[in-house]
């Protein structure tokens, strides 16, 4: 490979594998494996795009072509008009937007209390919050379902999908608290001496400084609610109220073998997450890494 045409290890008689050579060998091996791996990672997406641009008859041809003779961009238009995807899209934006807002505000506030205010039972309750992070949602699923649909009468509404978001998410509280803790307490003291209230400290000093953590939480929250399928599935029944995930499943039921349409619609549903990923990649990875360590 010409890529690795480094100068040969100098003068000394070449041993079987010098340190330099070994490093090069490692690199070649690394590229080789990572390269094949990248192929495994990217080929499904390429395949998806390719399928979405084909005609029905081209899909069922073997061996298939990677690049269709003609790019049928109108597949996208047709797929999206077979079902009211514009309505699904707006519904998803609405639910996701409010849920992110709710989780962000409530978790940021709660985390401040756990990180920077002194009150009795604070540490004990924080331990409880940590423990609930491990709790699978199934244990609370059925009673909350009964509570929301039977007691509150929220069947076929967005309330069960949105309202719980305003009661803080333990994982986000944890992430934000850990971040708040890294900020020096001198900041609070200085601001308090200058006559700033505790709330003022939170709003004017801590929150602006915690932007990276807040951004990470916002992205996680967005990702979860955008992709969420289970909760909409059990709470929503009216087609006009469907989210994109539900719509896609409905689509599968009706046009199950129209893979060109299915792939076009699926790609559209994935697109916002992909876009957010590319624009906020650093925040994404930092956030994940941060939570992976504790």
């Amino acid at each position: 490979m010409t890529m690795h045409s480094e100068p040969a290890p100098s003068a000394a008689p070449p041993r079987l594998l010098g340190k330099r050579n070994r490093a090069t060998l490692h690199n070649v091996l690394a590229y080789w494996i990572l390269g094949w791996g990248s192929l495994f990672i990217l080929s499904p997406l390429a395949w998806m795009l390719s399928t979405s641009l084909k005609t029905r008859s081209q899909i069922f041809r073997f061996p298939p072509e990677w690049i269709p003779e003609q790019f049928l961009w109108r597949n996208y238009l047709e797929a999206l008009t077979l079902l009211p995807f514009d309505i699904f899209f707006m519904n998803t934006v609405f639910i996701t937007g409010l849920s992110v807002l709710g989780e962000l505000t409530s978790s940021a506030v709660v985390a401040f209390s756990f990180a920077r205010l002194r009150w009795k039972f604070r540490n004990a309750l924080f331990m409880v919050a940590l423990a609930t992070m491990m709790l699978p949602r199934q244990v609370t699923l059925i009673p909350t379902f009964i509570l929301f649909t039977r007691v509150f009468g929220w069947k076929d509404t967005y309330y069960p999908l949105i309202i719980p978001s305003f009661f803080a998410v333990p994982f986000f509280v944890f992430l934000l608290r850990q971040f708040y803790m890294t900020l020096p307490f001198d900041l609070d003291d200085a601001a308090t001496i200058d006559g700033c209230s505790r709330l003022g400290v939170f709003w004017r000093i801590i929150l602006p400084l915690a932007k990276p953590a807040v951004a990470a939480v916002a992205i996680f929250s967005f990702q979860f609610h955008w992709n969420d399928f289970f909760y909409p599935l059990i709470y929503l029944f009216d087609k006009d109220k469907f989210t994109l995930a539900l719509g896609l499943r409905f689509f599968q039921g009706n046009y199950g073998t129209d893979w060109h349409y299915l792939m076009a619609a699926s790609l559209i549903v994935m697109l916002p997450v992909i876009l957010v990923f590319f624009f906020a990649q650093r925040i994404f990875i930092q956030g994940v890494v941060y939570h992976g360590f504790k």
Binding site: S38, L42, K120, L135
Partner: protein, 302 residues
């Protein structure tokens, strides 16, 4: 003066409770309350229409004795976890170690690998259903390039679980990114020290890399247990439990009992048993941790 200080303290405590109240209320109303309710519900037979009937341990008996599918779905889920978790662990670490050198394009490769980890849900399940398609799918196309005739992945009782494992490996970059950060946090002095002693690459890996990485591995193991026990969307969309219940994941079965057959009491039992299983597995990992997880701070104190 003292009185003012006290009131200041009190006001702070009051604000503390007030600002923590969203979580406290949520915990009582949406976690603790429902957990207890679910425990109570597990002693009843209730379809949400006719009045609930008290049956004591009847639902538990149903789970362990009368219902052949309950333990079957638990076995399926455990089998999946047993395949998926170690593979994610090993592949994630290997990829991270390959990437953790001064190779060019490190951040580009990291981006590529991480991308699928952020995608989830119905769209991804749809994509993989198409990839696994026996006659026209991508996987069998690749296999045909090397002269292998692939099976009907999702329609075959033997291959359906490995298919789900393979699909989950598409997101291996999620773990890789975390391991990579862990590797980058290992001080290079450690390696230099043993290199002076002429340690081989294998020894370096065994005596430095893996011990230093063990807290991260530990965390990833626990997250792996929790998430693989809760697989739902993929199974629901791609196979709906088939063929012949060979991919009847536990959550799928719970969903059916609760929301299709409306057996609220029995579904509560399923939920509690899943919870206990996750708890047991997590405790097992925790208990074993002292044997293999290495925390720097601990030995420094000792």
């Amino acid at each position: 003066m003292l009185a003012r200080r006290l009131t200041y303290r009190k006001r702070e405590a009051l604000l503390g409770w007030a600002m923590a109240s969203p979580w406290i209320v949520g915990f009582l109303g949406f976690t603790l309350g429902p957990m207890l309710a679910s425990l109570a519900l597990s002693a009843f037979e209730w379809d949400l229409i006719s009045p609930a009937k008290f049956i004591g341990f009847g639902n538990y008996r149903e789970f362990f004795v009368d219902d052949p599918l309950s333990l079957h779905s638990l076995r399926i889920t455990l089998a999946y976890a047993l395949m998926a978790i170690p593979l994610h662990l090993v592949l994630g670490i290997i990829l991270a170690m390959l990437l953790n050198t001064n190779i060019k394009g490190q951040s580009l490769i990291r981006t590529v690998y991480y991308l699928p980890a952020v995608l989830a849900g119905v769209a991804v399940a749809m994509l993989w259903r198409w990839i696994f398609s026996p006659d026209f799918g991508l996987l069998n196309l690749f296999l045909s390039y090397i002269g292998v005739e692939g099976p009907n992945w999702l329609g075959n009782r033997t291959w359906v679980l490995p298919s789900f494992v393979l699909m989950s490996l598409w997101g291996v970059g999620g773990g890789m990114v975390i391991y990579l950060a862990g590797l980058q946090g290992i001080p290079t002095e450690l390696y230099e020290a043993v290199e002076m002693d002429g340690a081989t690459a294998l020894r370096k890996m065994w005596h430095i890399t893996l011990p230093m990485l063990s807290p991260v591995i530990f965390f990833q193991l626990i997250m792996g247990v929790i998430s693989s026990m809760q697989i739902f969307t993929q199974a629901f969309i791609m196979t709906d439990g088939g063929p012949a219940n060979a991919s009847l994941f536990y959550m799928l079965y719970l969903y059916r009992q609760a929301f299709e057959y409306r057996n609220m009491g029995y579904a509560s039992v399923l939920a509690w048993i899943l919870f206990l299983c996750i708890l047991l597995l997590t405790l097992f990992v925790f208990r074993s941790a002292s044997a293999w997880v290495y925390y720097e701070a601990e030995t420094q104190e000792a």
